[in-house]
């Protein structure tokens, strides 16, 4: 066990725990901050695990996550905003 793995072990439960909890409660759009933060925590854990296990080639997993996690959040937000706008337009006529 080295400092990098210790940091990953600390971040995994105490970082992702609140995100999962907040992602399971409230209106759909109010869960997005938790999902976005979960993506950021995943990047951090992937980086630390790759270094802690001396597999620096696995940093690519963190790179791909750093690109796709925000993209996924944007797609979710776009989908929810589209739904809300359709509801509003439907009621206005």
């Amino acid at each position: 066990m080295n400092a990098w793995l210790l940091a990953a072990c600390v971040l995994l439960p105490s970082g992702l725990g609140p995100c999962l909890w907040r992602a399971c409660r409230g209106e759909p759009a109010r869960r997005l901050p938790a999902m976005a933060l979960a993506g950021v925590m995943a990047v951090a854990v992937f980086l630390l695990t790759a270094r802690g296990l001396h597999r620096t080639s696995y940093v690519d997993v963190a790179l791909v996550t750093a690109v796709l996690a925000p993209t996924g959040t944007l797609v979710f937000a776009r989908c929810l905003a589209g739904g809300a706008r359709a509801e509003g337009a439907g009621g206005g006529d």
Binding site: R51, A66, G90
Partner: protein
């Protein structure tokens, strides 16, 4: 325990502290729009500091460049996703406020 290693460990624990601060803020802040602020320490400070620590530890080279790209990607995408999430929450509030039932998007 060289100076480089000590610097890397210091940056590591500062980055972890910023990430844990974000998680605590997400759990404890009462209002939804307040929780939006929980993203800032993680994306603007936590992951970039982690990447800096790993880059210092890895030494100059391609590996350090890749780590710094990851840190920059996270630092840039953080504010963007925060703004988009805020707009999405506001749109949801407007739809809910106008009396229409808030069903799932078609």
């Amino acid at each position: 325990m060289t100076a480089t290693h000590v610097l890397a460990l210091a940056l590591l624990w500062c980055g972890c502290a910023a990430l844990l601060l974000s998680a605590a803020a997400l759990a404890l802040l009462p209002t939804p729009y307040g929780r939006l602020h929980a993203l800032a320490p993680a994306t603007s400070l936590g992951v970039p500091l982690l990447c800096l620590a790993l880059a210092v530890d890895a030494g100059a080279g391609r590996q350090a460049a890749k780590l710094l790209v990851i840190g920059a990607l996270t630092a840039v995408s953080g504010p963007v996703t925060t703004m988009v999430i805020g707009r999405s929450m506001a749109a949801e509030d407007r739809a809910a406020g106008s009396g229409e039932p808030q069903g799932p998007p078609a």
